[in-house]
């Protein structure tokens, strides 16, 4: 046989090095951008807390930064956000988990192939469409049942946010349940377990870490959701647990001020950053918890 001439590895080595440098740069750009955002957020927040005490901000129950006498208690906005999160969670967690269980364990292959993409389309709908849907479809429906409901109310917006986050829960949970090996299911079946028992005792516990992570992700998404609440939940910061009232969330407030004509550098302007920082910290903590769950309960399977 003819002797084969191999090309030198030198050219390849240079390419390897170049690729490494390019990829490192790309990685650093995204890291520095994030640091830059956090830095500018914290800087203005720091300026805000020079004028308003942290204690007043975190424990005050009145939020009237634009009207004299001004109050800077963020609790009404936090309560508004929490109300939306709870309503959205009550919708997205049971519906999302239910559809995930159905798709992974009960649906015949053909049905799954057909249903899964449809469910994922829900995630692709722009949130402004959901906002519109909340205003024109959900709110009138609620007002039919409870006539005293305000035009803008937490319930309507919460339901819309919940529907929007169903695919987050269902898609991630279903992937986790599908990843549970059939050998485990068969092991339980071979001991005389029924389908429900296999799902309840084997599939869900094995996939638990990802299921919980999907819940937290959906909650974190609901905390940060802006368009729907700005459109349908109202703009009345109020410390209430009545979902039929008009409220304001942290994100809703930020939108309102960003679009209004608040002078640059004023105290009202700085509130944006304080609220933004708080929002950032909440979602950041939720994401850390979610990652922790995925890691801690990652099994050998």
């Amino acid at each position: 046989m003819r002797r084969i001439e191999f090309e030198g590895k030198e050219r390849m080595n240079r390419l390897e090095k170049a690729v490494k440098i390019i990829l490192t740069t790309l990685g650093l750009i995204s890291i520095f951008t994030t640091i830059g955002i956090i830095f500018s957020l914290f800087e203005e927040t720091f300026m805000f807390f020079k004028e308003v005490s942290i204690v007043e901000f975190l424990t005050g129950t009145k939020w009237t930064p634009l009207i004299e006498p001004t109050h800077f208690g963020v609790l009404p906005l936090v309560a508004g956000t929490m109300l939306i999160v709870v309503i959205a969670g009550l919708i997205s967690i049971p519906l999302g988990l239910g559809s995930a269980i159905y798709l992974s364990e009960y649906a015949p292959k053909k049905v799954r192939k057909f249903l899964k993409p449809i469910l994922e389309v829900l995630a692709g709908v722009p949130s402004i469409v959901y906002g519109y849907f909340a205003l024109t479809a959900i709110t009138p429906l609620i007002r039919n049942i409870f006539p005293e409901t305000s035009v803008y109310n937490a319930l309507s917006a919460g339901i819309a946010v919940g529907i929007m986050t169903i695919p987050l829960v269902s898609s991630m949970s279903e992937d986790a349940m599908m990843a549970v090996p059939d050998s485990l299911r068969n092991g339980a079946y071979a001991l005389g377990a029924t389908k429900l028992e296999v799902t309840k005792d084997v599939v869900i516990p094995t996939a638990m870490s990802s299921i919980v992570a999907s819940f937290i992700l959906a909650i974190s998404r609901a905390v940060g959701e802006t368009m729907i609440v700005a459109m349908a939940a109202g703009s009345t910061p109020k410390l209430t647990i009545n979902p039929l009232e008009s409220i304001q969330t942290m994100t809703g407030y930020i939108v309102q001020i960003s679009m209004g004509d608040v002078p640059y550098g004023s105290l009202a302007y700085k509130t944006l950053f304080a609220v933004g920082t708080l929002l950032f910290l909440i979602t950041f903590i939720l994401n850390v918890i979610s990652r922790h769950f995925v890691r801690k309960y990652r099994r050998a399977y």
Binding site: L184, N186, L191, G192, A193, R299
Partner: protein, 251 residues
């Protein structure tokens, strides 16, 4: 000798593909019966028809009869969940649940309404001793089963199967994922267990079949070429194809 399972004219289809062709066989009580044959010959498919584990595969069809205690296991009177309590199974890859050793063993019992602590404790100790795992794990019975080695996990799976006090234990290549020492322990265990149970084992290894089984069936392309006492199959096969296979000419 009284057969515990009688298989008559069994055909099995995956969609259009006929995976088992007219299988007839009697399985005898308190014996070890081995199924051998090359990959794709239908031996595992046949094993799974015996406790209806094929029910979970879409688009399959079964024809013929499998008689167990006077009843056809594919008839309407037979509840598959009940059948699987009586005919247990151990799989190719050890598949303990992500639970404690204790909970793995008592899982089947709990699902059938046995919850008394004394009963469960006794079963755990007895079955762990029966599979020769007790001394190795007695201090970590309430720890995760996933911490055990592969061979220990497989013995735990056998313990889990016999905790249900089944009549028959089906084993689908139970040692194929294990090292030689673990394999040897499982083989010793099988010989021990046949006093109390009827064991049917699918194996890739002819030496294993020769070592532990009383009866051997040789499968080829979905047919049972030869079924007889193991000693006869290995010393004096009637069919040329069986002889070719056991002498290593193919497969």
């Amino acid at each position: 000798m009284e057969p515990i399972l009688s298989i008559r004219n069994l055909n099995f289809y995956y969609g259009e593909h006929k995976a088992l062709k007219d299988v007839n066989m009697d399985i005898y009580k308190n014996n070890v019966t081995a199924f051998i044959g090359p990959s794709g010959c239908g031996k595992s498919t046949f094993l799974r028809t015996l406790n209806r584990m094929n029910d979970f595969i879409e688009n399959v069809k079964v024809e013929g009869n499998i008689i167990y205690e006077g009843k056809d296991i594919y008839s309407k009177e037979m509840e598959p969940v009940e059948l699987r309590r009586r005919i247990g199974m151990v799989f190719q890859k050890p598949n303990p649940f992500p639970k404690t050793i204790y909970e793995n063993i008592v899982y089947g019992l709990r699902k059938n309404g046995v919850n008394k602590k004394e009963v469960l404790d006794e079963v755990v100790e007895k079955t762990l001793k029966a599979v020769a795992l007790y001394d190795e794990v007695k201090d970590k019975i309430h720890k995760s089963a996933l911490e055990l080695s592969g061979g220990q996990q497989q013995r735990l799976c056998i313990a889990r199967a016999i905790a249900m006090q089944p009549d028959v234990v089906l084993m689908d290549e139970p040692t194929s994922a294990l090292d030689p020492i673990s394999t040897m322990k499982i083989e010793e265990l099988v010989l021990e267990l046949k006093k109390d149970y009827t064991i049917i084992i699918v194996t890739h290894s002819m030496q294993q079949a020769a070592r532990i089984s009383d009866y051997t069936a040789f499968f080829l392309n979905g047919e049972v070429v030869e079924y007889d006492e193991t000693s006869k199959i290995f010393s004096n096969p009637r069919d040329k194809r069986t002889e070719d296979y056991i002498t290593g000419r193919f497969g």
